[in-house]
């Protein structure tokens, strides 16, 4: 009985933290953010070299064979750095194939995904915030698929799309295949650009057990968003604390005023305890099948909501500066906006929690 991280897990976080601090400090982040590409080949290459592209790919296919918790711990660090790149879509696509692919599919795709030379992403959402497998309406006829998918992250750099269709099935579609058209959606979070993907009779493979594991992939995604938001909110609190300790008004550091101090202490108290909430949801995703869906939905709805309100408060604490494009706060603010809406809003997942609890 132990609810804490292993030494290896703590080291994993430290290593990734060291990497992002070196390779993507706020100055570099700003360059990528302003470029609008949300991608830096060298950065992704560096992550792949560290094995981060294949964390949940089994060792037999060249990955690290780790669990959702390890993935979430990395997501926390990446959220803290607002790191641009296809990590979330790639991880979920890899997980889908690792969990639901047949042997041939695993052989074909996992080694490249683990290596990072093949980039994956997930195409789940459809018109009307239809994120859930039951709501997918894209259709497959034999080995061809048609439909419109929305908010597909990093579709432009992805080689492989895991596409959700009617019946909760998951399909594998090559982005360069026939009838695959991308349209940039000008998303708010410039660290993870999103695309509309139109599929017209595009060739596809049916993921062997896609319908069986779509829910598990969704749950893992919810956990990663919760972890990323926890990291982003913690970073915003650190930035605000630092600012309150240096900015002076009325002849005093503003952190000496209880109005500011208490506001910051409240933000901290709203966020820090939720670290355990996403840890538990991540653990449940691998080890507690009865609780996994509920834990993931609760963590996603709670933490992405709290992170959003933390981000809004951080802007206020920074005063006029916080409202500028120049201030770094906006990059994490927008990261929090993506995390809150991607894979469904807190409201949608609270309703799922209620239903899962049998209410």
């Amino acid at each position: 009985m132990d609810f804490g991280l292993t030494e290896e897990q703590e080291m994993l976080q430290e290593t990734v933290c060291g990497f992002v601090n070196n390779e993507c400090p706020p100055t570099r982040l700003r360059e990528i953010f302003d470029s609008g590409t949300g991608y830096d080949a060298a950065l992704w290459g560096g992550m792949a070299e560290m094995g981060l592209a294949g964390l949940v790919v089994p060792g037999a296919y060249g990955g690290a064979g780790m669990e959702v918790l390890d993935l979430a711990l990395v997501a926390e660090v990446l959220g803290g750095a607002a790191l641009p790149g296809p990590f979330i879509g790639h991880s979920l696509a890899s997980l889908a194939i690792a969990l639901g692919g047949d042997e041939a599919q695993k052989q074909q795709w996992l080694p490249g995904l683990a290596e990072g030379s093949t980039v994956g992403t997930v195409a789940f959402c459809e018109q009307g915030s239809a994120w859930e497998p039951e709501a997918w309406r894209a259709t497959r006829r034999d080995d061809r698929v048609s439909g419109r998918k929305l908010y597909v992250p990093h579709a432009d750099v992805a080689d492989l799309l895991v596409v959700g269709v009617e019946g909760g099935e998951l399909l594998l579609v090559e982005r360069n295949g026939d009838g695959v058209e991308l349209l940039g959606m000008d998303g708010i979070d410039r660290t993870r650009p999103v695309f509309q993907v139109d599929l017209v009779d595009s060739p596809c493979q049916v993921l062997c057990d896609g319908a069986g594991i779509a829910g598990r992939v969704r749950d893992a995604g919810l956990v990663l968003l919760a972890a990323d938001s926890f990291g982003a909110a913690s970073k915003l609190i650190d930035l605000s604390v630092e600012y309150a300790g240096t900015r002076e008004q009325f002849g005093f550091k503003i952190g000496q005023f209880q109005a500011v101090k208490h506001q910051l202490a409240r933000l901290g108290t709203d966020i820090e305890p939720t670290r355990a909430l996403f840890w538990h949801a991540a653990y449940a995703a691998d080890h507690l099948p009865q609780e996994a869906a509920h834990s993931a939905a609760l963590a996603k709805s709670h933490i992405t909501d709290r992170a959003m309100s933390t981000a809004r408060m951080a802007v206020e604490l920074y005063g006029g500066l916080g409202f500028t494009w120049e201030c770094d706060v906006q990059m994490w603010f927008k990261r929090a906006m993506f995390n809150r809406a991607f894979l469904g809003t807190p409201e949608a997942h609270r309703e799922r929690c209620a239903a899962l609890a049998g209410w």
Binding site: G245, Q258, K261, L277, A354
Partner: protein
């Protein structure tokens, strides 16, 4: 991370379960009074090594090696069986650990055993009318006169002083020293001449708290715990124990389950309220906080079992505030579900805590009562200062120059 218990601990759990088959008591023993039954069973549980596990035998404990996991298993299993375990009193929960840390050998031998059994009840004398959040400004004085302290002044918010045999408290013994350095920790016999206990009536209608007046009360000199003028440090240790008593996530989960039941049984627009989309949202929103408190408590617990409590320092500092905020939020949802029954006054049963709050007036009482914990044991505004300054290293408040 592994939420399974190892084989050795599963075996320990089975031992506890076998032992608990002896509760409730049977045959002749079942005819004893409820109090006698509890005392008898608790004595057996101490003997078996399940209750007061790490308190040495000579002071009335079980004298086992400290083991947080075993403590947790005992808590869970005793709770499930409704069996009497560690007393949740100020004597057992606060005084005993304080004496173990700071008390003289004679004090430990004399006072710990009856505090553990409940034979002697204790109350806490900290707050004064002029000294709440600024506790160290307290004025109730104790002057050494031969081999006795002579106490004069007043304490307030003293829980259950009218039923207590003793008080542990803070008194100003060094009037010329600076504020924190002038305080000593004394043990006072509540039957001493010159003590007057008057009940306070709370807004719930209950009278749990009292005011205690001291008029030349004589306290034996050997009832000083720790050194003269070092009472502040001694009391800090006790306050940690009080915060631990307050932040119990099991109680929170139980109240949340009751809230869900309330939503099932309340009719809104001709349907159970739990089918109402808005009510469902609010319930899950509260559950997010409850689940966070539970899992964060697990994290703190594991960190302390591993001997790495510093790794969970911030959540530990936040636990009290987080818990009291969560319960207030929960009670606010319950109060809204009550509708017009929210205009009713709590009954005598509700006030005395005889029932869990599953009646409308019980919920009214709980709604009002939920403010209490946010004030007791370090008010929420004080918690925010501690979190801001010690948790996040923010600069200290603007303060008036020292007098």
């Amino acid at each position: 991370m592994d939420l399974q218990y190892s084989e050795a601990y599963q075996e320990f759990r089975r031992e506890v379960q076998v032992f608990l088959a002896g509760w409730p008591l049977q045959a002749e023993e079942a005819k004893l009074s409820a109090e006698e039954q509890e005392a008898l069973f608790r004595a057996r549980a101490i003997e078996a090594g399940f209750v007061y596990r790490d308190i040495p035998k000579q002071y009335g404990g079980a004298g086992c090696e400290p083991d947080g996991l075993k403590d947790a298993i005992v808590r869970e299993e005793f709770y499930r069986a409704g069996a009497p375990g560690n007393l949740p009193t100020q004597g057992a929960g606060m005084l005993a650990p304080t004496l173990l840390e700071f008390g003289s050998e004679a004090q430990k031998k004399r006072f710990i055993p009856p505090a553990l059994t409940g034979e002697e009840a204790w109350c806490q004398g900290y707050s004064e009318p002029g000294s709440g959040s600024d506790l160290a400004s307290l004025q109730c004085s104790a002057r050494l006169d031969g081999d006795h302290w002579v106490v004069n002044g007043q304490k307030i918010w003293t829980s259950n002083a009218h039923e207590a045999d003793f008080m542990f408290g803070l008194f100003r013994t060094e009037p010329d020293a600076s504020k924190h350095a002038g305080i000593s920790y004394l043990l006072v016999d509540m039957k001493s001449p010159g003590i007057d206990v008057r009940p306070l009536r709370e807004m719930t209608g209950s009278s749990e708290f009292t005011e205690v007046f001291f008029d030349d009360v004589r306290v034996p000199a050997e009832n000083l715990v720790g050194k003269r003028g070092e009472g502040w440090a001694v009391s800090r240790a006790t306050l940690v124990h009080e915060r631990n008593l307050i932040g119990n996530p099991n109680m929170m989960r139980e109240t949340f389950d009751d809230l869900v039941e309330l939503a099932r049984n309340t009719i809104r627009n001709g349907r159970p309220a739990i089918e109402d989309a808005h009510v469902r949202q609010r319930l899950v929103e509260v559950e997010g906080y409850v689940r966070t408190a539970e899992t964060s408590n697990m994290r703190q617990f594991s960190a302390s079992v591993r001997g790495e409590p510093l790794k969970a320092m911030r959540p530990m500092m936040m636990a009290k505030l987080y818990g009291t905020d969560t319960v207030q939020m929960l009670q606010a949802v319950a109060y809204d579900l009550l509708g017009s029954e929210g205009m009713l006054a709590p009954t005598e049963e509700d006030i005395r805590g005889w029932s869990r709050s599953n009646t409308p007036t019980g919920w009214v009482e709980a709604y009002i009562f939920s403010l209490g914990p946010a004030i007791a044991g370090g008010a929420s505004n004080i918690q925010l200062n501690i979190i801001g300054e010690r948790g996040y290293g923010l600069p200290r408040d603007l303060r008036p120059p020292a007098k």
